[in-house]
Structures are given as C-alpha cells and as structure tokens.
Symmetry: C2
Amino acid sequence: MSTTVNRQFRLAARPVGLPKRNDWNLVEEPLREPGDGEFLVRIEYISLDPAMRGWMNEGKSYVPPVGIGEVMRAYAGGEVVASRHPKFAVGEHVAGTFGVQEYARSNGKGITRVDTKLAALPVYLGALGMPGMTAYFGLLDVGAAQSGDTVVVSGAAGAVGSIVGQIAKIKGCRAVGIAGGAEKCRWLVDELGFDVAIDYKGEDVKAALKRHCPQGINVYFDNVGGDILDAALTQLAMHARIVVCGAISQYNTTAPVKGPSNYLALLVCRARMQGMVVFDYAARYADAAHEVAGWIAQGKLKTREDIVDGFETFPDALLKLFSGENTGKLVLQVT
Amino acid sequence: MSTTVNRQFRLAARPVGLPKRNDWNLVEEPLREPGDGEFLVRIEYISLDPAMRGWMNEGKSYVPPVGIGEVMRAYAGGEVVASRHPKFAVGEHVAGTFGVQEYARSNGKGITRVDTKLAALPVYLGALGMPGMTAYFGLLDVGAAQSGDTVVVSGAAGAVGSIVGQIAKIKGCRAVGIAGGAEKCRWLVDELGFDVAIDYKGEDVKAALKRHCPQGINVYFDNVGGDILDAALTQLAMHARIVVCGAISQYNTTAPVKGPSNYLALLVCRARMQGMVVFDYAARYADAAHEVAGWIAQGKLKTREDIVDGFETFPDALLKLFSGENTGKLVLQVT
C-alpha cells in the first residue's frame, strides 16, 4: 500500500430536495490494515444509483437510512490489496457494498468475486450487478413476462431499464421503452433492439402508449412513478402486472409523493402492482448473472457504462441520475 | 298477472358528483308477456350497491356504462310469474341482473335459482349474492388470506366488508374493521366477532392501525380508497396483499381521483395491490355460496340486510350508501 490515507464521503445532512455538495463531508482518515479474517479493497469504481437518494432519508424503508456521519452507502468494485482472510487473496477483484470511499475493509460477507477476464469491472456494477439482477428478477419473477407480452419500461435508457427491454426481447416479448430525449430513444431502438421508444420530453406518453400498444400493456416496469405511471395505468391489458421498482421522479420532491390517480385501472383490468427489492433474490444472483453473461457473450444483450472520472466529483456525478444526463449505467471511476 | 304496467327507473343523465333524483326518469311501460324461451319475474328486492355509481359514468370500465334512456342496471331477486322457458317454472324464485324495475323478462342466462326455504330472498342479494362472493374470492383468492394473518377491511359495516371480516375469523385470521361511527363499530365487534373496529370518524386511522396491528397488515381489503387506503399503506407487513375491491370515497368526487401517495410502501414491503371484479369467479359461485350458506346455518356467519321500502324511493335509497347510513346489505323492497 503506497498510501496511508483513505478519502470518504460521509453524510453530513439529510437533503431537502436534490442533494447538495454540503450534504456530505469529504473526509480523510488514516488507512487501517485489515484485521484477522478481513481484507482491504482499493476501490476502482463506485456505482451511482437512484436508490442512494432514498438511503439518505430518515424513516423506515427496506434498509436503514445512512446515519449522519457515516460513510455514504454505495455498491462498488475494486482490487484486494491486503488480506488476512483465508478466501480472498491479494490481486483478486471483488464487488460489494463498500461505500463512497477509496478503500474499504471487509470480512467477505455479501461480497461477490469478479472475473475481469469475463467482463470489465464496471459491467459487474451494471448488467452483472444490482441493476442487471433488478431487471432480471423484476421482469421475469415479479412481472412474470411471457413470450408475446407487450412490456413497457420507463427510465428505459437507465441501468435497469436498458436491461429490462433487452431481456424482454430475448424472451420473445415486444419491448417499448420510455426515455427522455431523441438521442436516448435512438439508442434504445437502433442499438439495443427495442421495438419502440417513446420520448417523454417530446410526445404525449399516454397517446404514444395507446398507439404503440394496441393490445394493451401486459407488463409495465416502473422506474419513475409520477405522470408516466399514471399514463401507463390507462393502457393496461387485462391481468397486467406493474413492477414497482422505483419512482425517480418523486425522490427529490419536497411536495407529497404523487400517488397514481388512475390506480382503479387495477380493478377494471384485474391487474396487480407489486413492489420489489432486489436483495430478496440474492440466493439466485449467481445463476442469473451466469445467464446474463451468456447473453452478453452471444451479443444478445449490450451493456453501456457512463463513466465519470474523479472520486471528488461524487456529489455532482450523482445528480446526473436525476437530471437524466446519463445513458446506461452511471459509474464513478475512483482512480 | 294482475297488473299491465311495469315501472322502471331509466338513466336520464350522467351524474356530476352525487346522483340526483332527476338523473333518472321514472317511466311506466306496458308489461309484455314473455316470448318463447323467456320468463317474466316480478321483482321483490333490488340490490343497491356502490358499483352502481360507476355504471352511470361514461368511459371504459369492467362493464359498459348504462346508456342514457336505458333501465338502470341492478342485481335483484323476485318470483317467476309467467314462463315460456323449459327450466324456469311459475312460483320459483330467482336472482339476476334484472335492473331497477318492477318486472323483468329473462332468457335465463346468468340467472341464479333461489331456495327461499334455505334463506330469505334478500340474503341472496347479500351474503349469498354478489357481495358475499366478492368478499369470499377477494379475501381468499386475491388476498390469499392465511390462518394467523391480520386482515384489515374498510367499509367494514357494509355488505362486502361485514362478510370479509367474518370469513377472516372463520379462517383463523385476526379481523380489524374500519367503519364510520360508534354504533357500526360496536356491531362489528359485539355481533360479528371482529377483533377490533376502528371508527374513522372518531379516531386517527393510521395511529389506530399502528396500535391494533403491531405485526403489520397482511391483507388489506379496500372498499373505500382515499385517505384510508393511504393510512393502511403505512402499516403493511412484508409481502402484504391489498385487494382493490372499490373506492367509494372517490366515486362521487368531481376532483381527480386521489391516488395513494404512500404506494411506494409496496416496494418497501414487497407487497402487491391487485384489483378484482367478482364476475370473473362466476364458475365458482355455486360452491362458494354453498360454503357460505353452511357457515350461516352453523351460526358462524351473520347476515344483516338494511331494507328500504318503496320502489319509487330508489334515488334517495341509493344515496344511503354514500352517506354511510346503511349497516349491512342495502336492499330496496319493491312491493
């Protein structure tokens, strides 16, 4: 180890609205050697995810909030640089919830070993990591997508949405993406093979869904909530499934969350709306990642990482998620 | 047949807000003899249901709207008084979607034969009719209630809600009802055996649910929507099921429907919210009604009909549903 310092972003305040730079403190602490049964990871890439905004809030959720003064929670990947753990050797690459810092110590619990010969490390934060697993289990388990279904996904050019649409195609579904801007929409159709992409910034989403889903929507995979969820509810097919994966349009609002006015469509269409948290599928990650890796190797599934350079840019880089600037998986490169 | 006239309520206008007397015309038309393969029913009781409000609106729903000028749709029961149908004889009692009128002709399609020795005719409009079937399939199929679950039902003193809570108890669940007023709440606990009843007019529903459901809500059977649905969402147990049966608080609003602000609890709790329409279970009505009739005979399930007298009072009688004046199944007695 050539350095003796570990830089960390620690939560300084609970944000109101969009997170600001001074909602975190950038601190330096002395780098400590791993204890017995531990190893030390030099973090190379940090995953930036919409869920991180929720972790900054007080109150009950699917995980405890990040405490004030604690290192900001984040999924990340890096290289083992020191080890007193029998199963992790120096030089190996690993991914886990290491936090927004340059080095992390770990006892190995919840850590995934990464084969950088199979795919680059950032891919393990995207298609082969949490976003890919979220797409896989959300679409196939919660959404119960079947061949022939019309699958609509919002946030389609994001880390999760871009995988959802591609898995839908692999499974014989019709894939309709909703994204912001002509460039993202072109990417979805021309590069990823979506059947249709709807630009919510440029067209009326309800009218476009009606036009592009003449048989109705069988699976709506929702990453955004708000008005787009309400538009999708008007176009459900009978027995439709709505996967509630996220609601990025609502994460930074200081007003009450906008509930879906059209939720009674669930009754009319005998449809269901179901929430998911990817952690519940941890026991099946390995098999799913193996399948996704196969699709990548066969060229059936394309991955894209939007890599921002510089550890200290973390607060600004995170905001790209909420302004819709990223395409594909947003990743912060540490070194 | 001693009369030659059939009185009918026909839809005159689509209501804005609460239905008014002049949204219907009370008309008399000559009574026609049944044709070949038809029979004539003298209607004795007409079921008054919250769903009728929805049938008066224009637009796509789970059944077509009642057309302007058409007889108002209603479930009803009566006696066969003339028949040219091989399977229905004069003197038999039947129930079906006969409409708000004194006489109805039928070809027998969708008609249930009624044994008035087993239960009085109004019971076939309540516990043994659509409300009972809605409660049965909503709780057990859509809600998947299991022994030990905490079941919460809104509109608990109504036709559906009062049966939901009792079936919940029969199946070994804890039954918590939400109703308006101390008298209804007393009835639910003292007469029907609910574990708890929450008076939404007298107490804070969210706080009461928190107090009375310390393990969270496993099944929330929603008849009302609005603020009470939002309160229930704050108290879900993991993997909870919300049955969307109705939203009576929203049926007469002239503002947009209030969507559930707290719907992201579905994500946090990996819960589902699913709509139902009882007609989908028609093939299983007979078996379910047989089981419910058995519970009634054993004294395990109590029925209560709130009977309003006088065909011509229909428009006012219907409003009792929306002001919360009825307890149990609201029925209009024709004769």
